[in-house]
Structure formats: C-alpha cells, structure tokens
C-alpha cells in the first residue's frame, strides 16, 4: 500500500514538473524535429527567457513582444537564410535559479539557435555558464556592467551598460554649470552603484557634493531627507531610485520647496512616472537610450516610429517598458549576424555577431568589434518639459 502511494505520489510530482516546464511556443507547436546545430531547412528558433510573471512581468512581456515584432518583420521579408523564425519562450520569474533552468532547457531540449534574455543582470550572470558551454549566442538586456566582465564569449548586450548613463549626466551637469549637487539615492545595490558611478564620473569636473541622502525602496516619507537637502541649497539634485518610487520622490521633492534641476536615473523613461509626478517632473534631465513614447508621432526617429506603430497594431497599446526596444534590437542583430555568417548557430554565428559594425537600431548605432560583448556606448540626454520628453542639446 505504502509503495503504491509512493509510486503514485512520485508520478504526480513528475507530471507537475513536466507540466511546469511546458514551453509557450510562438507560432506553431514546436514539434519540428530539426536538431539545431547545422540543420538546414526548418525554422530558426530564437529562445527567450525573462520575467513573465511577478513584479517585473510587464517589462518581461514587453521584451517578449518586442522580440515578436522583430520576428514578424523578418518573416514578412522572407525570413533569415531563407527560413522562417519562431520564438520559444520561458518565464524566469525574475529569479536566477529559474533563469538557469530556462536557459538549460532552451539550449539542451529546444536546441534554439540563439537567445534573447534575460532583462535581469543577475539572471544573465547565473545562466552564463550553461549558455557559454552550449556555444549558443545570447543577447541580453540587463544593464549592469558585471556580467560582461566575466570572460564569456557568447554573451552580448543590446543596450549601453549603466556606467554610461552616469558619465553622460556628469558631463551634462558640467555643461549646465551645476556645481553644487545633492545626492538622493536608493540604499539598494541599484542606488549605491548609480551614485558611485556618478561620483566617479564627476571627479573629472569641478563639481561638489553638498548632501548625500538615501531612501529604502518602497518608502514614501522623505521629509527628513529633503529638509536636509534643501538646507544645503544645491544647484541640482541627483535622484537614483527605482521606477516605482520615482513619482512620489519627485513630487515630494518639489513640494519640499526645491524647484531647481533634477538629474535622474533612466527609470524616468517609464510613462507612469510622467503621470504620477505630473507637472512636478518638469525640469528633470536624465540620460537614456530611448523613450517609451505612448504616441508614435512623438518619436522623432523614423525607425522608432515604425516600431511603435507595428507594436500598437499587434498588441493594442504602446510598450509598457523600454525592454521591448532592447529585445527588438537584439533579435534584429542576431538575424544580421546569421546572414553575414551564412550560419544559424555556433562559433561562426558568434564571430559574425562580434563583427557587427554600424547596425542602426532603436538605441542608436551598434558596433561590437573588439568590445567584448558591449555594442553601444552612447546615450542621449532627455528633459521633461511641460509633461513631455524632449531631447536636450
């Protein structure tokens, strides 16, 4: 009896495990039996792993949608190497552990030709060894510089890393003659690394830090910190906090009596902040790769405008996160490398990706030659004026 129960239980366990692993395949059912590698004919499989449930699900879904737009566009134009593309996607639930599982499944079971994922640097870092070993190229959207400093040769990034943003902001502060700056940052890893990068970048200029205050993510009362910042009478306040908190932070800083310029993190690109902070966000300047425009007509860049129109036509609304752009650029560059290499995977594809030079994407012009996986180092400075994003000179 006990044995039977034991057997039944393990069966159930096995079944739930299998069910949990079920892949959501974009397009057909994914039963095509091409064995990856050198297979000619059949579809080209692009793997995706990123958060599709949980707190950052919106960003992950936007990325998956962005990748889908790229795949649709490529397929309409006849595919890559004469073959159609399809996406195989897994949810990494924002956890490094799940990311390793997802990446393993992509390279070993689905035998995808190339991967886009994840959005979280920690997840890319965790999945790195599996991906490297399988010789599958993986383009990721995480912005922390660390995971490309580990010596992996199959990992790439389709956005600038976070240190660039701080450098551009420091340069901007100097050009605007902002000499006395107060720092207000999250006390998490994100905030500390942001403020450290900014301090380092400012060392080249004649800039003085008159106050440095921190907040805990999710906190909503900054009266004490802002009183201190206002008492130091800064020319500008540097804010580096998570997107969820930025609306309240900006509003309260203005209400505490500070009306000078704010230098902010790239999270100011999130459309919800414009809505939450309202007119108090006017005077914020930040460095970013791109802006999530809710109306395609606001985009000055033709490529961006086309992308947004396609995205809205396909998914009914503009992307909820700029991760859609990172994924789109990533998949387009994978396709370009495949065409250049005349190969769909492996070493030849990696080398071709490394040779991408002058690819114009949504983020700007990419060049990977000799840069160890980094493809772009420029960012633009945007300002919020009358509730709209404008590019600063």
């Amino acid at each position: 009896m006990k044995k039977k129960l034991c057997l039944a239980l393990s069966l159930v366990l096995l079944m739930t495990l299998l069910a949990g692993c079920g892949a959501k395949s974009g397009g057909d059912s994914g039963t095509s039996s091409d064995n990856g590698g050198s297979a000619s004919g059949g579809t080209i499989k692009i793997g995706y792993f990123g958060p599709l449930t949980g707190g950052t699900a919106q960003a992950g879904q936007a990325a998956l949608n962005g990748a889908q737009i790229a795949v649709n566009e490529l397929n309409e134009a006849g595919g890559v190497l004469g073959r159609q593309l399809e996406i195989v996607s897994y949810d990494d639930k924002s956890s490094p552990e799940e990311a390793v599982k997802a990446a393993t499944k992509l390279v070993q079971v689905d035998k995808v030709h190339a991967i886009f994922g994840s959005l979280h640097s920690a997840n890319v870092q965790a999945a790195g060894p599996v991906i490297e070993e399988s010789k599958t190229i993986c383009v990721a959207g995480g912005t922390s510089p660390t995971w490309l400093e580990q010596g992996y040769t199959y990992l790439f990034r389709s956005i600038s890393n976070s240190s660039i943003s701080a450098k551009q902001l420091a340069k901007y502060a100097d050009s605007q003659n902002l000499r006395k700056i107060a720092l207000f940052t999250s006390n998490s890893e994100y905030g500390t690394s942001g403020s450290d990068a900014f301090r380092d970048a400012c060392a080249d200029y004649d800039i003085e830090f008159v106050a440095s205050e921190t907040m805990t993510d999710g906190d909503r009362d900054f009266t004490g910190q802002f009183a201190k910042i206002n008492a130091a009478a800064p020319d500008a306040v540097f804010i580096w906090c998570l997107g969820d908190d930025l609306g309240a932070v900006t509003k309260q800083l203005r209400q505490s009596g500070f009306d000078g310029p704010i230098l902010g993190s790239e999270s100011y690109t999130l459309p919800e902040i414009l809505e939450n902070a309202g007119e108090t966000a006017n005077g914020v300047a930040f460095a970013a790769q791109y802006i999530v425009y809710s109306d395609p007509n606001d985009a000055e860049d033709e490529l961006m405008k086309n992308f947004l129109e396609r995205y809205i036509a396909e998914f009914g609304a503009s992307p909820e996160s700029d991760n859609a752009f990172r994924a789109y650029d990533g998949v387009m560059m994978i396709a370009e490398a495949m065409e250049a290499a005349q190969a769909d995977s492996g070493e030849a594809l990696r080398d071709a990706y490394n040779n991408i030079d002058g690819h114009v994407g949504l983020a700007g012009t990419f060049s990977y030659v000799g840069k160890n996986g980094e493809g772009i180092e420029s960012m633009r400075i945007f300002q919020i004026e009358s509730g709209k994003y404008i590019e600063a000179q």
């Binding site: 707190g55 919106q58 006390n187 205050e213 921190t214 907040m215 805990t216 999710g218 906190d219 909503r220 009362d221 900054f222 009266t223 004490g224 910190q225 009183a227 201190k228 206002n230 008492a231 969820d244 609306g247 309240a248 509003k251 309260q252 203005r254 209400q255 505490s256 009596g257 919800e272 809505e275 939450n276 309202g278 007119e279 108090t280």
Partner: protein, 288 residues
C-alpha cells in the same frame, strides 16, 4: 529646518495616528488584534481612486462613498469572518492569522484588479506648495492634519456623548455585564470594526495624492500605525493619537538630523525604549 521637519513629522504622524486608532478601537471593543488595517488603508485608496478618477464622480462625493463602502467592508469583515471564527471556537492567535491571511489575499486581489503599477491620485487641492516663514508645506499635508483632528474630535464626541458610543465603551469594559443590562454587544463590536475600517480608509485617501496608489502601500503604513497604537497604549484611543504623532515626529527628526538610513532603527528603537520604561505604553489601557 526644525520647523520644516516638525511640520512634516506631524503630517505623517497624523496618518499613523489614524491607522493606530483603528487597531486600538478593535482591541478595546473586542479584545482582538487585526492585522488587515494596512490593506484596508490600501483598499480605501483604491476604492476612492476608482470612484473619483475612473468614474469621474466629484471629489467630495467620491470620498464620502469610499468611506461608506469601507465602513461596510468593516461590518462584513466582522460579521462574515471574525464572528463566525469566534463561534467555531477560534482563539486570539487564529484571528491574528486569519487577518494576516486576509491581508495577503487583499494585496494580491488589488494587484489583479488594478495592476501592480503606481496609480496617480491627483490632489483636489493642487500640488503647489505653500511657503510660510521658510517652511514649505503641501496643501495635502494641511488637509491631513485638519482631517485627522476633525476625525478625532468626532470620534471623541461619538464615544462620550452618544448612546451608541457609550454602550460601545461599556461593552468594551465588560461584554457580559453590558449584555446583561441590555446592550447589543454584537452591534457595538460590529460598529467598532467598521469605524476602524473607515478610519484606515480616510488615512488611505488622505495619503494617496502624496504616495500614489499601489498594492503594497498598506504594508509600510500598517507596521507604523501598529507601532503608534503600541506606543500610546494598545487599546487606548487617545494613546494612539499621541503615539502616532510622537512616532512621526521622531522618525522625521531622526532622518533630518541624524541619518535617513537610520530612520527606522531610531524610531523603532524609541518604541522599544518607551515600552521598557512603560510596558503598557504612554497612556494606560482603557484609561477613560
């Protein structure tokens, strides 16, 4: 800077006081602890947001409706969950666990219904700060202080001057004896839970324009409101008010004069210290 910190501290302290009042009311009326006050606070903000922003109903009416709905929620909570649990022989600890469970349920419920992003609740009073003698205060902060004191006064008169209030206090002191002299004890307990819910909802609506409305907004406030109730003397209405104000001012002063990263350590440290000296809190329980 002192004036600025004091003003900010009083404003946030008022919110702690309102939530703390809820905890104390429930405890004094039914000798139970409810840990769902933070989520009621959040739900109140969402309900007001939906009525005011989504349905475009005038602000005053929207707020009134939201408070009424949350008052009703308090009644349903007491009648539908707490009272049946007690009838089935649940002890204090089971009630505590049930309310914690409900709070997790409500947080996820809000996430599904309204999404996990921060919703903007425009202040009916405008965003431009008022500057007075070097102090910058937002109109919303002034509204918080005035509304809180109005609520407290109303509650004070309700408790001491009305028949229902008096019977509520009597039932709180000795439910058995109160029942014997003809007081409808289940009614008074229901009213206490409903008032607690309404107060939390008021706090949520007051704070929504400053914090934004999002599923986790109750989590931060519920601990601090609870601390306010404990500091003032758990179960004592006036204690919760004093506790909330002290907690808010200490916290803000600590962030301003010492360090923002030590803000919580200092304010909760003060709480522990006060409890060491006065284990029952600042005002003794059921002093009135």
């Amino acid at each position: 800077m002192f004036g600025q910190l004091l003003a900010g501290g009083i404003a946030v302290g008022c919110i702690y006081a309102l939530i703390g009042l809820g905890y104390s009311l429930i405890y004094s009326a039914s000798a139970l602890m409810s840990f769902v006050q933070g989520e009621i606070f959040m739900l109140g903000a969402y309900v007001a947001y939906t009525i005011y922003v989504s349905f475009q109903i005038p602000f005053a009416l929207a707020v009134l409706l939201a408070i009424l709905i949350m008052f009703g929620f308090g009644v349903v909570l007491q009648r539908g969950m707490i009272s049946p649990l007690l009838k089935r022989g649940a002890q204090q600890i089971q009630i505590v666990l049930a309310t914690i469970g409900l709070s997790i349920f409500l947080k996820n419920f809000a996430m599904i219904v309204w999404g996990s992003d921060v919703k903007n609740f425009p202040s009916a009073l405008g965003e431009a700060p008022i500057r007075l003698a070097g102090i910058s205060i937002s109109p919303q902060q002034i509204a918080i202080v005035i509304t809180t004191f109005a609520c407290m006064l109303a509650l004070h008169f309700f408790m001491s001057r009305t028949k229902l209030g008096t019977s509520l206090r009597a039932a709180a002191q000795d439910p058995m004896a109160a029942g014997v002299v003809g007081i409808n004890v289940p009614l008074t307990v229901g009213v206490a839970w409903a008032l607690a819910a309404a107060l939390s909802a008021v706090a949520g609506i007051l704070l929504a324009p400053i914090y934004g409305v999002y599923p986790k907004m109750g989590a931060i406030l519920s601990t601090k409101g609870f601390a306010a109730a404990v500091l003032g003397g758990y179960g004592n209405m006036y204690g919760a008010i004093i506790g909330g104000l002290i907690f808010g001012v200490v916290e803000t002063m600590a962030a301003g004069y010492i360090s923002s990263s030590l803000k919580d350590i200092i304010s909760f440290g003060v709480l522990i210290l006060v409890l060491f000296v006065m284990p029952h809190g600042i005002l003794k329980v059921k002093a009135d």
